[in-house]
């Protein structure tokens, strides 16, 4: 296991080979290796280019709608009777989730590199919608790979992508979910290396993607720092975010890694339970392995064959996790827990009824942990939850699961 000196910043990773401790790297086929090295060079150059930063900032403000509000959830706080709960409202950003932050950053890089053809994988469809959106905005061809299972359960997002001019390609291999879509996107990339830019949607994949996606998402945590200081004149006590690949969590956590008094809590999807095979909790239920270009924690069998993940939320349905999370877990800087499908649905309903906000089922996993944790905490404990996306896309799933108990009218509904 990697050692780290606690007097050193935890925000310096990865190393030159793309490792966060033992995790990360560039485990890709030779065909892709020169591209990845090229991408790394271009990204390093773009980071130092004030014009790149200016354009990203301008579009983030006027096109995406940043800053996203930091909202004090008064009735949720009152209901739970403990910690003061703030919601970071990424659900209010253009396209309805944090995914746009990264898609925008990467498409600016694609344009800088002269690439005109954009590909992406998507699970819940939010990254696909964000990518299709920026591709339309910059006039680029856009191809989205999406598992056939996910296409079925996230129909509204499929239609949004198509409306935006993207071609959505169903992936039937494997279980037809996010990992299979990522395999297919990698196959496309290796076939069209000269023209194509692959916008990976999460903090995983070969170096430099985990660091690059994190950097584009870190605007979330940077804003929280400033906003909470304005409201409460201090740092938060805890940050809570859901984790599939882990991009919204890493974006929230990263600016706070060197503040040891800020507790970082990542919530994986426990699906039908960690004691069943049907979950998506790579850290709680997996072990170290190599997939999709990086070494990280993976759900796999004793033979190293990758297991199919399960979660009610398509966006968390991935058998891996970003390598920086695997490292933060290994050095115990962040705490990782899990919430089940049922707990997420209960949290989903609670936020609808208490705050008038319909959260994404992904973000509902973070809220489920808040429900467990907040009542036992003092009233001066400041807890910030990343409300990473809105729940409109989940109406079919939620209505199916909750119709009976909530007395919902499904006669004309999307079911």
């Amino acid at each position: 296991m990697s050692q780290h000196d606690t007097t050193q910043s935890l925000r310096q990773g990865p190393d030159s080979r793309g490792f966060f401790g033992d995790f990360g790297g560039r485990f890709v086929a030779e065909t892709l290796m020169p591209l990845i090295l090229d991408l790394q060079r271009e990204y390093e150059a773009a980071r130092k280019d004030p014009l790149f930063a200016d354009e990203l900032a301008r579009l983030s403000a006027d096109y995406v709608g940043r800053k996203s509000p930091l909202y004090f959830a008064e009735r949720l706080t009152e209901h739970l009777g403990g910690a003061r709960i703030y919601l970071k409202r990424e659900d209010l950003m253009h396209t309805g989730a944090h995914k746009i932050n990264n898609a925008l950053g990467q498409i600016l890089l694609a344009r800088r590199m002269g690439k005109r053809r954009i590909i992406a994988e998507t699970g819940a469809g939010m990254h696909g919608v964000a990518t299709a959106t920026v591709a339309a905005r910059f006039g680029m061809e856009c191809i989205i790979y999406m598992g056939s299972t996910d296409i079925h359960r996230q129909q509204p997002n499929v239609q949004r992508m198509q409306l935006l001019g993207a071609k959505v390609i169903p992936v039937t291999a494997g279980d037809g979910t996010l990992k299979d879509a990522m395999n297919e996107a990698l196959r496309d990339w290796v076939t069209h290396v000269d023209t194509t830019f692959y916008i990976i949607g999460t903090v995983a994949g070969p170096h430099p993607y985990p660091a690059m996606v994190r950097d584009f998402q870190s605007v979330i945590g940077q804003e929280v720092r400033e906003q909470l200081f304005d409201k409460e004149q201090r740092l938060p006590d805890s940050l809570v975010a859901c984790i599939g690949g882990g991009s919204n969590a890493m974006g929230l956590f990263h600016p706070f890694l060197d503040d040891p008094d800020v507790a970082l809590i990542g919530v994986e999807a426990a699906g039908e339970g960690l004691d069943t095979p049907r979950h998506a909790a790579s850290l709680k239920g997996g072990r170290s392995g190599v997939l999709h270009g990086n070494r990280t924690f993976l759900l796999q069998d004793a033979e190293g064959q990758i297991s199919d993940a399960h979660s009610i939320s398509a966006g968390l349905d991935y058998p891996g996790i970003g390598p920086e999370h695997a490292w933060l877990h290994a050095i115990e800087r962040a705490e990782y827990v899990a919430a089940s499908d049922r707990e997420a649905l209960d949290a989903f309903t609670l936020l609808c009824r208490k705050e008038g906000i319909i959260p994404a089922l992904e973000s509902s996993h973070a809220l489920a942990e808040v429900i467990k944790r907040a009542p036992g905490l003092p009233q001066d404990h400041l807890m910030v939850v990343n409300l990473s996306g809105r729940g409109d896309k989940d109406m079919t799933t939620a209505t199916q699961c909750l119709a009976e108990e909530l007395g919902l009218d499904t006669a004309n509904g999307p079911v």
Binding site: G25, A29, E30, L35, L186, R187, H192, E303, Q305
Partner: protein
């Protein structure tokens, strides 16, 4: 980095022999356990006699990111049929009872090896009679993971070079490779479009300016005619997806095996006729 054991191993001997015979070596790929253990073993045992000079035996993996549909389906059939790494190694041991000469290269992805433990895997592979490894998702940047330990254990580590491997990278790609170099004829996944022989020849000339390691060309070569064209200048020709399709084409598993061996004979004859104009 090549140890005495690997420089005198079956791969080196086989390529020396085919060079001496003035022809390209036929490198055949089959997926271990496709469609089931017994059928796959029967195919494996027949390949050498049918004219395969080198056998690549695919280690099935759930997420074959560099493979096209034919090999994706084959490795999935194998996994569904209960293929494991133990059984793949058992196949090599079984082969070695009847064929001690044909080099066997295990091909696949890193995670099943990593899960087993690199040292344990290398010991078991060596003991089973494996000669080399091709692991798609381990570029030279990760040589410390498996390539260097494999060389130490006396196994060849065969690297892939691709059209995107530029002059700057070529030395690092060649540095620790041994046995042969696998030139991927076109950007893409296995089983894709046929390569342009003229362009591949130029690429091979470029590689040969740096090294005299045997170069086998693969990806998209399906027919005897294509093999003959590439075999006229390459040290080896790799055929995979077409053999996988042949295995799947039979009405019975036995008929599939016969189809694989028939195609292997055709390919071998084509290479024997092609002859070889050594470009050195």
């Amino acid at each position: 980095m090549t140890s005495p054991a690997t420089s005198q191993g079956r791969l080196a001997q086989r390529f020396a022999a085919t060079r001496q015979q003035g022809r390209a070596a036929l490198v055949t790929y089959i997926a271990a356990g496709d469609p089931d253990y017994a059928t796959s073993l029967a195919t494996l045992k027949g390949l050498g006699e049918a004219g395969a000079d080198v056998i690549e035996l695919g280690m099935p993996f759930t997420d074959p990111m560099a493979d096209g549909p034919a090999i994706q389906h084959a490795t999935r059939r194998a996994l569904e049929g209960g293929q494991t790494m133990d059984r793949t190694l058992e196949m090599v041991r079984e082969l070695r009872r009847v064929d001690t000469l044909t080099p066997v290269v295990l091909m696949g992805y890193y995670n099943p090896i990593y899960a087993r433990g690199v040292e344990r895997f290398l010991d078991q592979a060596k003991a089973a009679g494996v000669d080399g490894l091709i692991v798609v998702d381990l570029p030279p940047e990760h040589d410390d993971e498996l390539c260097l330990p494999a060389a130490k254990a006396g196994l060849n580590f065969i690297r892939l070079a691709t059209p995107t491997t530029d002059a700057e990278r070529l030395p690092s790609v060649l540095a620790n490779t041994s046995g042969f170099l696998y030139y991927v004829s076109s950007n893409g996944v296995t089983g894709g479009a046929a390569p342009s022989a003229e362009r591949v020849k130029q690429e091979l000339d470029r590689i040969r300016a740096h090294s005299d390691i045997p170069v086998a060309v693969g990806f998209g070569i399906r027919t005897a005619a294509q093999a003959k064209e590439i075999g006229a200048f390459a040290d080896g020709v790799v055929v995979g997806s077409a053999l996988i399709d042949a295995q799947a084409s039979g009405e019975t598993p036995q008929a599939g095996t016969q189809a694989v061996l028939e195609l292997t004979r055709e390919l071998a004859n084509a290479l024997a006729q092609a002859g070889h104009a050594p470009s050195r």
